[in-house]
């Protein structure tokens, strides 16, 4: 499990690789939140393209980061969403939130 953090202008990109479950989520959360709070970016982009496994702990991670960014007047975007992750996003009703990375597919 690893989180790679990069900054592009007003966007903080957190690229998550490896397995995201309840066990690994706590450390990922801490890394992302520390960076988000210190850089004060408007957009937090969570990139899931290098994930090899994710269960509903990942949905908890998205929801928590969404709340954090909202509290700072920012937003969350998702990138690299697999079919399985999309199923979970729909189960959680998160597909109704403006969290899809609109740039995706245009690159």
């Amino acid at each position: 499990m690893q989180v790679n953090l990069t900054r592009e202008g007003d966007t903080l990109i957190a690229a998550i690789s490896g397995e995201l479950d309840h066990h690994t989520a706590a450390a990922m959360r801490q890394q992302i939140d520390t960076a988000a709070l210190s850089c004060r970016c408007r957009v937090l982009r969570l990139d899931f393209s290098a994930l090899t496994f994710m269960d509903s702990s990942g949905i908890g991670l998205i929801m928590g980061r969404y709340r954090l960014m909202q509290s700072m007047g920012g937003c969350v975007q998702l990138q690299g969403v697999s079919g399985r992750l999309e199923r979970m996003i729909r189960l959680a009703g998160l597909d109704k939130l403006p969290i899809w990375n609109t740039q995706e597919g245009k690159e």
Binding site: D21, A25, F53, D55, S56, G60, M63, R84, A92
Partner: protein, 147 residues
């Protein structure tokens, strides 16, 4: 129908064992030659059930979690996750989508994911005694007579 093969593992409710349980299920079920998606569904479902036991059954202590996997000739995979923890007062309520007692970082989706990613989920629980989650998933038999 009698199971043609069976795996039983008992491990303490340490969160590091979530990944271990997934890996064990994937390795054992491999003999049914499942499709990549079927295997991913099983790994996700078992991860949810084991995480529930770790987070909810034993909130302040470690306790035993027993994972049983049974394989049947017709492609049925039966996953059972049993704990001896505090049990669930209201199983119906616990299974509602987005209901959680796990705090802000838990999505409350565990049972919904198990239901969505397997063919059948049953939950038996006795407060103070523990919970057993049983899931069935049918793996498509790709080569007839080769099982």
């Amino acid at each position: 129908m009698k199971a043609m093969n069976e795996l039983r593992l008992t491990f303490p409710s340490r969160s590091a064992n979530e990944g271990f349980a997934r890996a064990a299920v994937a390795a054992f079920v491999a003999q049914l030659d499942p499709a990549v998606d079927e295997l991913a569904d099983l790994r996700t479902a078992v991860s949810e059930a084991v995480t529930n036991a770790i987070v909810h059954a034993y909130p302040n202590e470690l306790g035993p979690v027993t994972l049983t996997v049974r394989l049947y000739e017709n492609g049925r995979v039966c996953l059972q996750v049993r704990d001896r923890g505090r049990g669930i007062e209201d199983v119906e309520k616990a299974m509602e989508p987005l209901f959680t007692t796990g705090g802000e970082e838990r999505s409350g989706l565990g049972f919904s994911v198990m239901q969505s990613f397997t063919d059948r989920v049953r939950v038996r629980s006795t407060p103070g005694k523990g919970t057993t989650v049983t899931m069935d998933k049918y793996i498509a038999l790709r080569v007839k007579g080769q099982r």
